[in-house]
C-alpha cells in the first residue's frame, strides 16, 4: 500500500527548463492518490470522476470519494466551500480511499487549505495550484494567499503554479466553466491516461449539451494535456494489469439502480433526498426500457405507500431514501410488516439526526432500521460493503422479501453511493427475476395468512385471484386477516412474524473471518468500511499483531455463530462511522457510555463485552486511523 516510495515528486528544486518527454522524471508506483478541489460549480468533481472512470476502464484499481461542502452554495474561496473528489488508483484492486493524497490540484489556495487542515495531504504532496490568486488585483485575496502559504509552510509540499485561468481564456470566455477540463487534460498527461477514452467519456457526460459545448471541453482537455507536457517535469506511472474478466465501472447508487433492474423490480417509488436521489435519476434513464417505472411521489410517506400498495397488488416494488426519509416512512414500514407485504427499502445513510449532514457519510441508521417502528416489527436488515455488492444485494433482497413476505432494508451509505469502483461485469440471468404472478384461483381453504406454525411462513395471495378476496388491515389480525379481538390472536401474529426471522437466520451461514480465526483482537465492521478495515488489519498483522476482522452483511437478524467466533479472540471491537462516547471523557462511565450501534447490537445478542471505536468525521474512515485504533485497543499483554 502507500509508502514513502509511492510519494509525489521529491521537494528538490530543479533548474528552470522546459521539460521534454526525455528529461521528465517518471514516478513508478503501485498506487497513487490524487485530489481535485475547487469551489462548488467549478467542476472539480466532474473532472476527478471522469479521471477515475477512465482509469478504471484502462484497468487500474480505483476508488473515488466525493469531497462535498455542507451547503449548496457556500461563500466561495473559503475552506468550507471545498468541493471535489479524491481518486485512489492502483495496479491492484483498490478498496478504500487511503490515507493521504500524493498529488492535489487546487483551483484556489483556500480549498487547498481545507485539505491541508484535514490532514488529507502527504507531507511531500505535489500541489498544482491556480496561480492567478497570488498576484490578484484584490489586496485581500493576495493577503489570503500569503496567509495560506504561511500556514502550509511547515509541510514539504511541492507547489507548482499553473496559469489555469490564463490558459482557459484562450479557449472559452468563462474559464470558471472550463478549468476542470483543462485540469483533466493535465492529469491525463501526468498519469498517461488514454485520451480517446477521456474524449468518449466527455461526450457521454455532456451528451445533453450542444456540440459546441462538447468541442470546447475537448479543446480544453487538449490544452491542459499540452500544457502539462510542456511545463511539468514529472509523470506518474501506476502500471496497469488488465483484469482477467470484463469489468464495469459505476458508483454504488448506479449499482443499486442496475441491481434493481436485474432483480426484476418493476417500480421504484421515491422522493428526492440526498444522497439517495442519484440512484433514482439513473434508474429513471433506463428503467422504462425494462418495463419499470420510477414514481416520484409527493413526499416520503407517499413514496413508501405507493411501493407497498404496488407490492400488495403483485408488482415488484422498492423505495429508496435516506435518514430523514426513513424516519417519515416509519408508520408505513410497520404496515408492510403487519400485512406481510414484500418490500425492499434502500436507505443510503448520511449524517444525522434530523437533516444532519446531507452530503456526508455516516452509519447511524442501523438501530433505527432495526428497531425504528413502534410495536414489534421484525424485518431483515442487510448492508452491502462494496459497489459490486450494491448491485448484487438487490437480487438477494428482492428474493428474500418475497420468500419471507417481509420488509428487507438495504443499508448503503454516502461513501458507497458516490464512490466509483470497477467490478466484474455481472452475468445477468433470468433466475434473478421474479416468477410471473400466479393469478389462478386460490385453493379452497387457503387463508391470507396461512401461517405454518413451525416457520411462520405463508403463501401470498395477490388481489384479483378467484377466492382470494380478503380485508387487508394494519390492525392485529388472525390467519383470515380478521381483526384481533382476543389477546391470543395478537400474541400469535407477533409470534409468527418473528418466527419467520428466526427461520431466515437459520438459513444463513456463519460469517468468515478475515485473517486467522483466532487471536488477540477481532475488529467487526459493516457496510462501506470493509476496505479500510481490512487494509488496517493487514498493516497490523505485518507488525506482528494478532488481529483479524469480520464484516457483517446481515444485521437483522444477525448472522449465526458470532458468539462462538468472538470467544476465539481475547477482545472484540467494532469499527463504525457512527457516534460513541470516548470512555475517558468527563462523566462517561461503562454504564452510561453510548456505544457504536453495531456494538450495542452485538453486546445485546452475544453477551460478549464488545468494545467499539467509532468516528463521525463526515468522511470515510482512513486505514491509517483504524490502524492506530487497533494498536490502541490491543488487549493488555498482547
Amino acid at each position: 500500500m502507500a509508502s514513502s516510495s509511492a510519494a509525489a515528486p521529491a521537494a528538490k528544486k530543479k533548474k528552470a527548463k522546459t521539460p521534454s518527454p526525455q528529461n521528465k522524471s517518471i514516478i513508478k508506483v503501485a498506487e497513487h492518490t490524487v485530489e481535485v478541489v475547487s469551489d462548488p460549480g467549478e467542476g472539480a468533481q466532474k473532472c476527478a470522476q471522469t479521471f477515475g472512470r477512465v482509469s478504471a476502464k484502462m484497468g487500474n484499481g480505483v476508488w473515488t470519494v466525493e469531497i462535498i461542502p455542507a451547503e449548496i452554495q457556500p461563500p466561495p474561496r473559503t475552506p468550507p466551500s471545498t468541493s471535489g473528489n479524491r481518486v485512489r488508483i492502483g495496479t491492484k484492486p483498490v478498496t478504500n480511499w487511503g490515507d493521504a493524497a500524493h498529488l492535489v490540484v487546487a483551483f484556489n489556495e483556500q480549498v487547498l487549505l481545507h485539505r491541508h487542515r484535514a490532514n488529507a495531504l502527504n507531507d511531500d504532496c505535489a500541489v498544482l495550484i491556480e496561480s492567478m490568486w497570488e498576484a490578484h488585483d484584490d489586496e485581500d485575496i493576495r493577503k489570503e494567499w500569503a496567509a495560506a502559504m504561511e500556514e502550509m509552510s511547515g509541510k514539504r509540499y511541492r507547489f507548482i503554479k499553473v496559469p489555469m485561468e490564463e490558459q482557459c481564456l484562450t479557449v472559452v470566455d468563462n474559464p470558471r466553466k472550463g478549468k476542470n477540463m483543462f485540469v483533466l487534460g493535465m492529469l491525463a498527461n501526468i498519469y498517461s491516461r488514454n485520451l480517446d477514452l477521456i474524449r468518449e467519456q466527455i461526450e457521454v457526460e455532456f451528451r445533453k449539451k450542444s456540440q459546441a459545448v462538447i468541442d470546447a471541453n475537448l479543446a480544453l482537455l487538449d490544452l491542459g494535456h499540452a500544457w502539462a507536457e510542456a511545463n511539468l517535469d514529472f509523470t506518474v506511472d501506476v502500471p496497469i494489469e488488465p483484469p482477467p474478466v470484463p469489468m464495469v465501472v459505476m458508483n454504488g447508487n448506479q449499482a443499486i439502480a442496475m441491481g434493481a433492474v436485474a432483480s426484476g423490480m418493476e417500480l421504484c417509488a421515491m422522493y428526492p433526498i440526498t444522497p439517495a436521489t442519484s440512484a433514482s435519476h439513473h434508474l429513471s434513464e433506463i428503467f422504462e426500457n425494462y418495463g419499470g417505472i420510477v414514481h416520484q411521489a409527493e413526499d416520503e410517506i407517499a413514496a413508501v405507500g405507493v411501493a407497498i400498495g404496488s407490492s400488495f397488488a403483485g408488482k415488484v416494488a422498492f423505495t429508496i431514501t435516506s435518514g430523514p426519509g426513513l424516519a417519515l416512512k416509519t408508520e408505513f414500514i410497520g404496515l408492510a410488516v403487519m400485512t406481510e407485504t414484500p418490500l425492499v427499502l434502500v436507505d443510503v445513510q448520511r449524517g444525522g439526526p434530523s437533516t444532519g449532514l446531507p452530503t456526508k457519510i455516516e452509519q447511524s441508521d442501523l438501530l433505527a432500521a432495526i428497531w425504528g417502528q413502534p410495536g414489534d416489527a421484525p424485518k431483515v436488515v442487510m448492508a452491502p460493503a462494496t459497489m459490486e455488492e450494491c448491485f448484487l444485494c438487490m437480487i438477494t433482497a428482492r428474493r428474500i422479501a418475497e420468500a419471507f413476505r417481509c420488509v428487507v432494508m438495504v443499508l448503503s451509505d454516502a461513501n458507497l453511493a458516490t464512490g466509483v469502483q470497477p467490478f466484474p461485469r455481472p452475468n445477468v440471468t433470468r433466475d434473478w427475476i421474479a416468477a410471473p404472478l400466479d393469478l389462478s384461483p386460490v385453493p379452497d381453504g387457503q387463508k391470507p395468512y396461512d401461517w405454518d406454525p413451525k416457520t411462520g411462513l405463508s403463501a401470498r395471495i395477490i388481489p384479483g385471484r378467484q377466492n382470494g378476496m380478503f380485508r387487508a388491515t394494519g390492525l392485529s389480525h388472525d390467519e383470515d386477516s380478521k381483526i384481533a379481538y382476543s389477546p391470543d390472536v395478537h400474541e400469535r401474529g407477533c409470534e409468527m412474524r418473528a418466527r419467520k426471522m428466526a427461520v431466515f437466520q437459520q438459513s444463513l451461514r456463519p460469517p468468515k473471518v478475515y485473517g486467522v480465526d483466532h487471536g488477540d483482537l477481532l475488529v467487526v465492521g459493516w457496510g462501506s468500511t470493509i476496505g479500510a478495515i481490512e487494509e488496517a488489519v493487514d498493516r497490523a498483522r505485518e507488525e506482528g499483531l494478532a488481529v483479524s476482522s469480520l464484516h457483517l452483511r446481515f444485521l437483522s437478524p444477525l448472522e449465526p455463530g458470532l458468539k462462538e467466533i468472538f470467544n476465539r479472540f481475547t477482545k472484540v471491537m467494532t469499527v463504525e462511522v457512527n457516534y460513541s462516547d470516548d470512555p475517558n471523557a468527563p462523566y462517561i462511565t461503562d454504564e452510561n457510555r453510548r456505544r457504536g450501534q453495531l456494538a450495542w447490537l452485538l453486546r445485546a445478542t452475544t453477551l460478549v463485552d464488545v468494545d467499539c471505536w467509532t468516528r463521525v468525521p463526515g468522511h470515510p474512515l482512513r486505514p491509517g486511523q483504524i490502524h492506530e485504533a487497533i494498536r490502541a485497543h490491543m488487549p493488555k499483554g498482547a
Binding site: A212, S263, G291, T396, R399, A435, P436, L508, E559
Partner: protein
C-alpha cells in the same frame, strides 16, 4: 409490385425484431434445458434453483439446503412437473423453429382481418405461455388445470407488459376490400408491429383512424419508411397500399405536437366515389378529409404535403389557437442554441 414481392419486402424490413424474438426464445429454451439438466444431475434440483435465484451475494452466506427444504413443498420436481416443463420446452422449440409462416398471416378473401390477426398472435403467444409455465413450475406455483391451456393458445389480451414489448412483428396480406384497420387497435400496444400488405384496390387512407400520439403509422406504396417502423420503440402499424392511395408517416419521435409527427407525402386528387368492400365512397372520403385536416394543422410550421401533379393542394393554415401563437412567439424569443 406483385403481392408476394411486397410480402417479402415487409418481412425483410421487420427482420430485426423478429430475430430478437427468436433469439429470446432460443435463450429461454437453453435455460430450460440447463434447468432440466441440472435437475437430472442433482437429486436436489431445488437447492440449485434457490441458490441461482438468490444470486452471487448469497453465495457462501446462505445454507441453500435449508432454504430449499423450507420451500420443499413447492420446490419438488416430481415426474409430472418435469413433464410439464418438457412440454413447455417443446412448445418453445417448435415455435422457434417455425419459418416466416409464424409471422405471416394471409387473410382469405372475405375473411375477418381482426380474427386472423388475433389468431396469429394467439399462436405466437404460446411461446409466452410456455415461458410462464416454466417460471410458474420452477416457483412451485404451477397448477395444471389453470395453467396448461397456455401451451395451446395464449391470446394477446393475456400478454403482460413485458411480453408485449417483446412481441414479434406480424405481416398480414389482406384484400383491400377486407381492410378494416381500425379493428386492430387492441393489438397496438407494447412494441407490437403490424404491416398490412394490401391486395387490390382499397380505401385511400385506411390507417388514418389509427393515428394516436404514441403509435407509429405509415402508408407507403414501395416500402419506404418501413425501416423506421421497424426500429420504432413502441407500437406501430404500416400498410403497403396501391400507388393511388395516400402516403404518410406518423412518427411519435416527432414530439408532442402533431406538426412534428405527421408527414403527408401524397393525397389523392379526388375523393372516391365507388365503394370498396362495403365501405362507401363517403366513408372513404371522410378518411381523406381527416388526413387533410391533420395535415392542415401541420402546415403552419412546415410544408407537410406533397405537391405532385395528382395531389390536391392543401391551403396552409396559420396557427389559429392563441396558445400556439404564444408558444411560437416565446420560442422565437428564447435562445435555445445551447440546449
Amino acid at each position: 409490385m406483385p403481392s408476394d414481392d411486397r410480402v417479402e419486402l415487409a418481412l425483410t424490413a421487420l427482420a430485426g425484431q423478429r430475430d430478437a424474438f427468436r433469439s429470446a426464445l432460443g435463450t429461454t429454451v437453453e435455460q430450460v434445458q440447463t434447468f432440466l439438466a441440472e435437475h437430472r444431475q442433482s437429486q436436489n434440483g431445488g437447492v440449485n434453483r434457490v441458490a441461482a435465484e438468490l444470486g452471487p451475494f448469497a453465495a457462501d452466506r446462505f445454507d441453500t439446503d435449508r432454504l430449499a427444504k423450507l420451500f420443499g413443498g413447492s420446490l419438488k420436481l416430481d415426474t409430472l412437473t418435469v413433464e410439464t416443463i418438457e412440454k413447455a420446452r417443446d412448445t418453445m422449440n417448435e415455435l422457434s423453429q417455425r419459418n416466416h409462416d409464424l409471422f405471416l398471416v394471409k387473410v382469405n378473401p372475405g375473411g375477418d382481418l381482426r380474427t386472423a390477426v388475433a389468431k396469429a398472435l394467439e399462436e405466437i403467444g404460446r411461446a409466452f405461455g410456455a415461458v410462464r409455465i416454466f417460471e410458474l413450475t420452477r416457483s412451485g406455483s404451477y397448477r395444471g388445470n389453470e395453467h396448461a391451456r397456455s401451451l395451446g393458445s395464449f391470446p394477446f389480451q393475456k400478454w403482460s407488459k413485458g411480453e408485449r414489448r417483446l412481441a414479434p412483428p406480424l405481416v398480414v396480406a389482406v384484400d383491400g376490400a377486407d381492410l378494416r384497420a381500425e379493428m386492430l387497435t387492441d393489438f397496438l400496444d407494447g412494441s407490437q408491429k403490424i404491416v398490412l400488405v394490401v391486395r387490390g384496390a382499397c380505401s385511400p387512407a385506411p390507417l388514418v383512424r389509427l393515428i394516436t400520439p404514441g403509435t407509429f403509422v405509415i402508408q407507403t406504396h414501395d416500402g419506404t419508411g418501413l425501416d423506421r417502423l421497424a426500429t420504432h420503440d413502441g407500437p406501430g402499424i404500416g400498410a403497403l397500399v396501391p400507388e393511388s392511395a395516400a402516403r404518410f408517416v406518423h412518427d411519435p419521435k416527432g414530439g408532442l405536437h402533431l406538426a412534428g409527427r405527421l408527414t403527408v407525402e401524397h393525397l389523392p386528387a379526388t375523393e372516391p366515389k365507388m365503394s370498396v368492400g362495403g365501405r362507401s365512397g363517403s366513408q372513404q372520403a371522410e378518411e381523406i378529409r381527416q388526413l387533410r385536416s391533420l395535415a392542415d394543422i401541420t402546415v403552419g410550421t412546415r410544408p407537410a404535403v406533397g405537391t405532385d401533379a395528382s395531389a390536391t393542394p392543401v391551403t396552409p393554415a396559420a396557427p389559429a389557437d392563441p396558445v400556439d401563437k404564444l408558444a411560437a412567439w416565446l420560442l422565437s424569443q428564447a435562445n435555445l442554441s445551447d440546449i
